[in-house]
């Protein structure tokens, strides 16, 4: 496999969503024609592998091969009925009580990195993610409407001990600013 088709695979894998040929050409700093050639090569090399190249309009993306579709359907079913578990519930509760909240703040409150958990909560439609109005490079998370409805509350303010919890977290976050100066 040439370096180019290799790099295209890496990019498509990394993005894991549809990318236009134009974008690819820009990212790789090569002509669109070259990209097309690379894609043909990639397609060939993916024969008999776990992922395939899908072309849709002028975009391309990687997807699981058709032999795995039954298996994935089965697993999706199983995952749907799965409980969230302690760690996810804790993350979800922070989003409920302190939204909109950035991932870094959730991480700081929990003391561990929460990226996988948040991704999962997003897929399950429990939280929404949008650009932070204060900083366009980051995102903030908040509970979805469906979640509030499911919990039987009309707004987060109706959560048990809402104000008390908010105040406690706020106090802790204020320490953060002080601590940050002492932790190297």
């Amino acid at each position: 496999m040439t370096n180019l088709s290799n790099q295209i695979e890496a990019l498509l894998f990394w993005k894991s969503e549809p990318v236009s040929l134009k974008e690819l050409s820009k990212m790789l700093s090569v002509e669109v024609d070259k990209v097309s050639e690379g894609l043909i090569e990639l397609e060939k090399s993916l024969e008999n592998r776990g992922t395939v190249l899908i072309k849709k309009e002028d975009t391309v993306y990687l997807a699981t091969n058709s032999e795995s579709s039954e298996l994935i359907k089965k697993i999706t079913k199983e995952e749907e009925s799965a409980e969230l578990g302690k760690a996810s519930l804790e993350t979800l509760s922070i989003v409920l009580y302190k939204s909109p909240i950035r991932r870094s703040d959730i991480d700081y409150i929990r003391g561990v990195n929460s990226s996988f958990i948040l991704r999962n909560l997003l897929i399950r439609g429990l939280v929404d993610k949008k650009t932070d109005p204060k900083d366009s490079r980051t995102f903030v998370y908040s509970p979805s409407f469906e979640l509030l409805a499911h919990l039987g509350i009309t707004e987060v303010g109706k959560l048990p001990d809402f104000e008390k919890v908010q105040a406690e977290i706020e106090t802790f976050k204020n320490q953060k600013e002080q601590n940050n100066q002492t932790i190297a």
Binding site: W14, S16, T64, G125, L126, V165
Partner: protein, 247 residues
């Protein structure tokens, strides 16, 4: 070159704990970790403890623990026949091992620093083929959420209340001890080591410091120490009644 520069550097350098300080002293002299190199940095180590800024008083106990082991090592190097208990021998070997391990990890941390972030392998930014649809688990219920946030609040690290200044006795410096030794030798020609150090009343480290001070004096020829039997009292006697010639 400015002669006061190293002094200045010592004052501003922040050491992360007693092992960091000790290893830095050994490495500064380009020595291998051994009882000999540790004995040679003992005085400097104790000097550093005396210069520790006030805020780290709470850590001082840790520094003193290591200092007492260092003093043992030094005592042993000055007096090879010095009988040490198995515990004492154990803590000496233990200190050497800890330092060696830290040295290895520090060496590797430089290697890690070189490669960190240079050649990052990237994970998928998105989860492919996932349709978002509302799918709460059985356990997404208000009471579980309440319990979860309670757990979160409970496990928040407690505010860092500055530790009340621990009243750790300032370790006696070698120089202070030598002064006191000399004064007392002048007043009593003969004294036993346990009289002098007030063994049992003061910290173990003071005993050792005074013992070492004694050994240094012996080396300098200021006093004569005698030990009749293995665990007998060490008797010291002054050679001259005049001012001893130490600095």
């Amino acid at each position: 070159m400015n002669a006061t520069l190293p002094e200045f550097k010592i004052k501003t350098e922040v050491f992360e704990g007693p092992l960091d300080l000790l290893l830095s002293l050994v490495e500064k002299r380009k020595l291998f970790i051994s009882d000999i190199s540790l004995a040679s940095v003992t005085d400097e180590y104790i000097n550093h403890i005396n210069k520790l800024p006030e805020y780290s008083m709470g850590d001082r106990t840790q520094f003193i623990l290591i200092a007492s082991t260092l003093l043992l090592i030094k005592a042993k190097s000055l007096l090879p026949n010095l009988p040490l208990t198995e515990d004492e021998n154990g803590s000496i070997e233990d200190l050497e091992l800890r330092l060696r391990e830290l040295e290895v990890m520090r060496r590797q941390s430089n290697e890690i620093k070189k490669i960190f972030g240079n050649n990052v392998l990237f994970f998928q930014e998105n989860s492919p083929e996932r349709e978002v649809f509302f799918n709460p688990g059985e356990d997404v219920k208000l009471n579980n959420i309440s319990e979860a946030i309670a757990r979160v609040l409970n496990s928040l690290p407690k505010a860092e209340v500055p530790l009340p200044k621990l009243k750790v006795q300032k370790v006696v410096s070698l120089e202070e001890m030598m002064d006191s030794l000399t004064v007392r030798i002048k007043s009593a020609i003969k004294m036993s080591f346990s009289d002098f150090s007030g063994k049992g009343k003061v910290e173990k480290v003071n005993v050792i410091v005074s013992f070492l001070a004694l050994l240094e004096l012996v080396k300098q020829g200021t006093v004569d120490a005698r030990q009749e039997g293995l665990f007998d009292e060490i008797e010291m006697e002054s050679y001259s009644i005049g001012t001893p010639s130490y600095t």
